[in-house]
Amino acid sequence: MNKHSEQHPWPDTSLKAGYLLLLAAGVAVLFLANIAFGSVPIPLSEIVSILISGSSEHEAWTNIIEKIRLPRAFTAVLAGSALSIGGLQMQTLFRNPLAGPSVLGITAGASLGVAVVMLAAGTITSIFAVQQLSSLGSWLIIGAASIGSSLVLFLILLISARIRDSVTLLIIGLMIGNMTIALVSIWQYFSRPEQIRDYLIWTFGSLGGVTVEQLWILALVVLAGSAMAFILSKPLNGLLLGENYARSMGLSVGRARFWIILSTSLLAGGVTAFCGPIGFVGVAVPHLARSLLGTNDHRMLIPGTLLMGALLMLACDIVAQVPGSSTTLPISAVTSLVGSPVVIWVIVKRKNLQASFS
């Protein structure tokens, strides 16, 4: 017996913060790097001094950092975390490795809202121009996106109360998403080319369009959604075994599902409203986090996914800004271009994606 326990010691079940601290440090480094790179070269010492004391040799530098680069970096952190946690929750709820925050059609709903505003109004070109300059135009687009995603969310919650089976719900979500995209596409068909162009630009996604005041709202939404997700760790763990087992272990599956969908909708809807549709991150990051942490325990996985999402989005944004040039690439394309090889590499190397959802 003694020999037995030496050979197979009981595991330490306390939560290990090691990897999380490492990830947090990585986020901090990339955050600084994200601020440091841009079309206007600013020395690192000046950046630090601006961040600490808020003053610099050049007034313009302070402005660039405080008004443009800091909000942009914060937006990247928020968007990356939010989409990743949304994706993680969908993957667990639907027990499907390909699920992401967009499966419920929430992103499509936001797109429909924006399409309605942009393509219906005649002088739409000016509205998009307004978005860059004053807050009115961007609020209009954010409002439209929020209403669009909320409508889809409401529909999904209504359906989820009637349908007990999550796979059916997944398919219904996908269908609603398809219908929404079809509506947008019909709208595009009857629109003028310049209107379509504006809409297309929105669909590329952007981290740079969020102002400081909007950032507060986005932060609040993401914080609420993430807190909800963390509180849901225990039911999410139970759902790993399937809904019947979760119920047999005393978890109220229906209630948990409501909150999971609500949390994901807030996270995905909020980010899509402010930044446009940003693909890929939500599907990929949970896999990266599982791979790094080697666990499916959501108490570890949610903080890990949050940090990993922030990390990946900051990195992608640095690439998107093409350091040393004044060009900016669409963020949505960069997340896929940078992220996909990373995920392929991790899956091939660690071989444990299959282990998570065989």
């Binding site: 009981w10 595991p11 760790s233 763990n237 139970g238 399937g242 119920r247 272990m249 109220s252």
Partner: protein, 340 residues
């Protein structure tokens, strides 16, 4: 002794099945009056489609019953919350758990869910219960193993250990031995039997393993295709012909004499068989496969005697004309075939 205890789980005139949207009932079984006592292992048997899984899900409170009353420790199951049920009754389902990136320990620890706080962190006491459950299921050597890298039998034991960690006086298992090989099936049943008798849990498992159920169960609940459930001690059900009735089908029958299914209809020629008991048992099988009706009394025109020699068995075939010696069942069959 058992009769004086109140049952841990009791069903009174329960009707199980499904209700369609329009309120029409699809009854799977009805008038179910059964009880499960502490320290008892009950096997639920019945042909496919007789409603075993439906009954287990209904007893576990996962599916509403159509009519009747199910009580857990004297309390109506509909009045208990999911959490209250989970503290009294744990379930091992047929749902395949395919998740990975979880150690056996973590998986078993999920069973503590009804007792842990909102985050699911384990207290010292929880840890001890989990460890006891792992040891009881014989999984000590697997604690660090990823559940995705376990064999079917090992994974089933993990799910049972998880139910043990849930620390409930009642455990329901839906076909825990399906997809397992014979040693694993025997091991799981033996484990459940030990748990029932040593820890005083009331355990109900559904199974298709007639042999094992007859040997291991304290009582058997037998569901037939006529929406009935018959309960009793295994031997009584065999002797009063209930088994034969339930499993009566066109192609095979339950054999009261052996407690197993008869694959072949022995309507053919009669043969008498005598000799060493072990050899007779196996020779009988071969003969029945060949279409003979085997009788243990002698005096038939065709007779076979098995004797255990110093090294091997020997078969002597005797008919009116001649006597032949055979050294194996194969030879015996060859001789019998040549006579046709």
């Amino acid at each position: 002794m058992k009769a004086t205890q109140t049952p841990v789980l009791q069903a009174a005139d329960v009707q199980i099945g499904y209700r369609s949207k329009r309120g029409a009932k699809a009854v799977v079984a009805e008038h179910i009056d059964v009880d499960l006592h502490a320290g008892e292992l009950i096997c639920l048997l019945g042909p496919n489609g007789s409603g075993k899984s439906t009954l287990i899900r209904t007893l576990a409170g996962m599916q509403p019953m159509l009519d009747g009353n199910i009580s857990l420790f004297g309390k109506h199951i509909a009045e208990l919350s999911v959490k209250e049920i989970a503290k009294r009754l744990s379930t091992v389902l047929t749902d395949r758990v395919t998740i990975g990136n979880l150690t056996v320990y973590t998986m078993v620890a999920f069973g503590r869910a009804p007792y842990t706080g909102w985050l699911g962190s384990l207290s010292q006491e929880d840890e001890e219960v989990v460890r006891r459950a792992i040891e009881a299921a014989g999984l000590r050597a697997f604690v660090h193993r990823d559940v995705a890298r376990l064999s079917d039998g090992e994974r089933q034991k993990v799910m049972i250990a998880r139910a043990l960690a849930q620390d409930t006086p009642v455990i329901l298992l839906d076909e825990p031995t399906a997809h397992l090989d014979l040693p694993n099936r025997v091991e799981i049943i033996r484990l459940l039997r030990r748990l029932a008798h040593e820890t005083g849990k009331g355990i109900l498992l559904s199974t298709h393993e007639l042999d094992l159920a007859l040997k291991a169960a304290d009582r058997i609940w037998l569901m037939n295709r006529r929406q009935e459930l018959i309960s009793g001690v295994p031997e009584d059900l065999v002797l009063n012909g209930t088994f034969e009735q339930v499993f009566k089908q066109d192609s095979f029958d339950f054999d009261r004499a052996t407690g197993s299914f008869r694959l072949h209809q022995s309507e053919g020629r009669e043969v008498s068989l005598a000799g060493d008991a072990v050899a007779v048992f196996w020779t009988r099988r071969a003969l029945e496969r060949e279409g003979f009706r085997v009788l243990e009394e002698g005096g038939k025109e065709l007779g076979i005697t098995v004797s255990s020699g110093p090294e091997a068995y020997r078969w002597t075939v005797q008919d009116e004309e001649e006597q032949k010696e055979c050294a194996s069942v194969r030879e015996l069959i060859a001789v019998l075939r040549s006579r046709k």
